[in-house]
Symmetry: C2
Subunit: 458 residues, 2 copies
């Protein structure tokens, strides 16, 4: 039995390892276009600034390590074509510059996603860079070493743009951030965006929201960014305006693509092509809160999907399921931790929910305990049923609060369940009642008042 | 309508505030024996060492503050008798030294718990102290100021004993800890006890387990502790061998007492006496994991019960419910955070479960991110159904991991639910897969192997 896996980052390598564990006799080959497999892509912003010093630490496992488990990882190999009826592949060896044919019994597609570079004039200038792969990070570091840029511009105010902003500031650059919409961190409500912008500003980042870049200027190297009638001098541009799934390979092989533009798979990670599974940033999944198709390209989710795909491809049966995600995410921007799970108010409205919400600013530990800091928390519930739909947090311990809420969403809990929930309390770790409990209690008052309002008008 | 509340710490004051909010016209009096109401008792260990410097910060609300909300808080008033048929009380004013009668329409009993001082000879010596109330903390601080003790002995290796150990070390004392059982932190499994003992030892605490104190020696002030044939010189003793609920007042009034020895209440916090509710450390509740009666005297739970009692006493109806607890708890001992939720393996066995468990040592963030530290996590599941029964954690981020597991228990999730749960990941906040997910995955392997074992023997 020959298993071929296309793509060797999170989902691909996880699927390979899992398949090997379940089936010691399987022949397993992983093709990876980039020169290193098993990269921790989420760590790349911290490698730019040297917060993560050791490049090797970002490579979770080398081809040599995989070889010890009898997994053949071929890097700098691009799979160019899948012939699903013949179960064959055309593979291009980028080192040797030659193309060869391979065959599979079962196939896992883990082709990931790529940065979506916008068609802005000047985007090809030297110094206009993106950050998706370790090779991108190497390129940025080389550029910084060679030209010692003093002014950097980041295009895009999402996760990557915000993390890169922090890390370029850490290198001593004067950083500007340009976002096309009217605020950064659009997956969140406006209160969180405001806190993120305040955090950026307090660290000297110049923020331009509601601005679209018209052109990057310069000769050879980038020297400026023009937008809205002004020109900003810059020595380096990092574009982080989004990514898109790599679906062309399987799409051309006849696989169905979902409404989000990512590969359609069932909950066993099977594509519409027999004997072809897919996992990771290239596939569509389900948002468990709304029940709608969703594309959530995140490393942890890719890992979990990879485990399911690897199990099922090894057994050849529908052994494990991956039912969907909550869109849980977190990022750090300077000293502010910002996280979310489930639906924002806007996403909930888009999904047809009428919502109630409660926000508060609470302490992260007992107010009298040294070092107590504030954290913002918002809970969003379904007005009709009381079910928790989402949560957003910004500030100290936001990772904990979001994980509590994600677990509550996972268990489909409602706000009354959270009023008396038994969480861990001691003065160094939280206020007597967790901010989650406090917010649920406020929400419960909100529902009571609404009920009284109805009663009063009846 | 006159509401009287007996006891003004967490549950009593919460009930008062909640009743006032719901019923602006109610007459509300709180009797409190100690000189201050609304004390954060969990903060007391940190007041000993000066980590919490400001004594006033431990008093969440003064009688003057309550007066602003038209709640009459009478401190240094001990309620000595309840005549439930006449709805009358005998109250002793400790300042004036006189006794008077009061009447109620509705009554909330929040008499809390008291330290259980063991009948050891010499326990009455000066310098043999306990830590339950703010007045106890004052007494310890005065003693320390007056005699500058160099050697301190703590009797009891539970939460309080461990927290006090840290704080007396912080004052520069040489600290010994004596525990009657064979290990400290008995609510936890042996792995956690071992970590706690190692943490104590690494900070110079002398630990004596499996030892019972025979006698405290000295004349006037304590000078030694005798146990197991040896005598330890000591200048100060803090006894923390447990607490017991204050039930005598309502018991004598005819209220039923539960099997745990605490006051029996229904889920609306009603006692067996008409128009008498009870809440906080004096009442029995239900362990939601085992379904058994439980006595869990903790500040956060008392707060939640107080809210339920205060609501129901104000409406006179069964408006809110408090269904029970998970026994979630956390404490800090030096640099180690230790938490639990649900049942330990021993408690699960006592409750009749056959268990499966998985333990691991994981990083608290991405391994390559600076400052990554280890955390121990154990998950305990029901062998028959896979339902999560409990979790224990020790180390960095244990508060987060325990709160995730507590929420999972609250939602009655099973280990397979935790394998693909969507938690928040970014390198500064966790490893790609949360230790909870990692442990659930190990547990799932454990269940798979057991199934294969059954199949193999069939």
């Amino acid at each position: 039995m020959r298993l071929v896996i296309v793509g060797g980052v999170a989902a691909g390598t996880k699927a390979a390892s899992r398949a090997r564990r379940l089936d010691p006799g399987m022949e397993i080959t992983v093709y990876q276009e980039e020169p290193e497999p098993s990269i921790s892509e989420c760590g790349l912003p911290y490698f730019l600034s040297g917060i993560v010093e050791n490049r090797e630490r970002l490579v979770a496992r080398t081809p040599e390590k995989f070889a010890q488990k009898d997994i053949d990882v071929l890097v700098r190999h691009r799979v160019e074509k899948i012939d699903a009826s013949a179960k064959k592949l055309i593979v291009h060896d980028l080192n040797a510059g030659k193309t060869f044919e391979d065959a599979y019994d079962r196939l896992v597609v883990a082709t990931g996603a790529r940065a979506a570079l916008p068609p802005i004039p000047g985007v090809d200038l030297e110094g206009v860079l993106e950050l998706r792969f370790l090779t991108d990070a190497d390129r940025i570091r080389s550029y910084v070493e060679k030209y010692s840029p003093e002014k950097a511009t980041i295009v895009g105010g999402g996760y990557i743009g915000l993390e890169v902003a922090e890390n370029l500031c850490g290198l001593g650059m004067e950083v500007s951030l340009i976002e096309g919409e009217d605020r950064v961190a659009l997956d969140y409500g406006p209160e969180v965006s405001e806190k993120v912008e305040a955090e950026l500003a307090s660290h000297g980042v110049n923020i331009f929201t509601g601005e679209k870049v018209d052109v990057f200027t310069g000769e050879g190297c980038v020297r400026g960014v023009k937008f809205g009638g002004t020109e900003l001098a810059t020595d380096l541009v990092i574009v982080g305006v989004g990514i898109k799934p790599n679906v062309e390979l399987v799409s051309e092989a006849g696989a169905e693509i979902g409404t989000t533009g990512a590969i359609l798979v069932d909950k066993h990670m099977k594509t519409s092509i027999p004997d072809v599974w897919a996992a990771g940033d290239c596939v569509e999944t389900t948002d468990l809160t709304s029940g709608e198709p969703a594309w959530v390209p995140l490393g942890d989710t890719a890992n979990q999907m990879g485990r399911v795909a690897g199990t099922n491809v090894a057994t050849g049966e529908d052994t494990l399921e991956f039912t969907g995600t909550l869109g849980t995410g977190i990022f750090k921007v300077f000293d502010l931790g910002v996280g979310k799970t489930g639906l924002s108010e806007r996403a909930a409205a888009d999904a047809g929910f009428e919502t109630a919400s409660a926000s508060l600013s609470a302490y992260d530990r007992a107010g009298y305990y040294p070092g107590a800091q504030r954290v913002f928390l918002k809970l969003i519930a379904d007005r009709a049923t009381g079910r928790l739909l989402g949560a957003e947090a910004a500030g100290s311990s936001s990772d904990k609060l979001i994980d509590i809420c994600a677990t509550a969403l996972w268990g489909r809990l409602s706000y009354p369940d959270l009023v008396n929930i038994d969480l861990a309390y001691a003065p160094p770790y939280g206020p007597a009642l967790s901010p989650v409990i406090q917010a649920a209690t406020i929400l419960s008052g909100e529902f009571e008042r609404a009920k009284e309002g109805v009663r009063a008008t009846e």
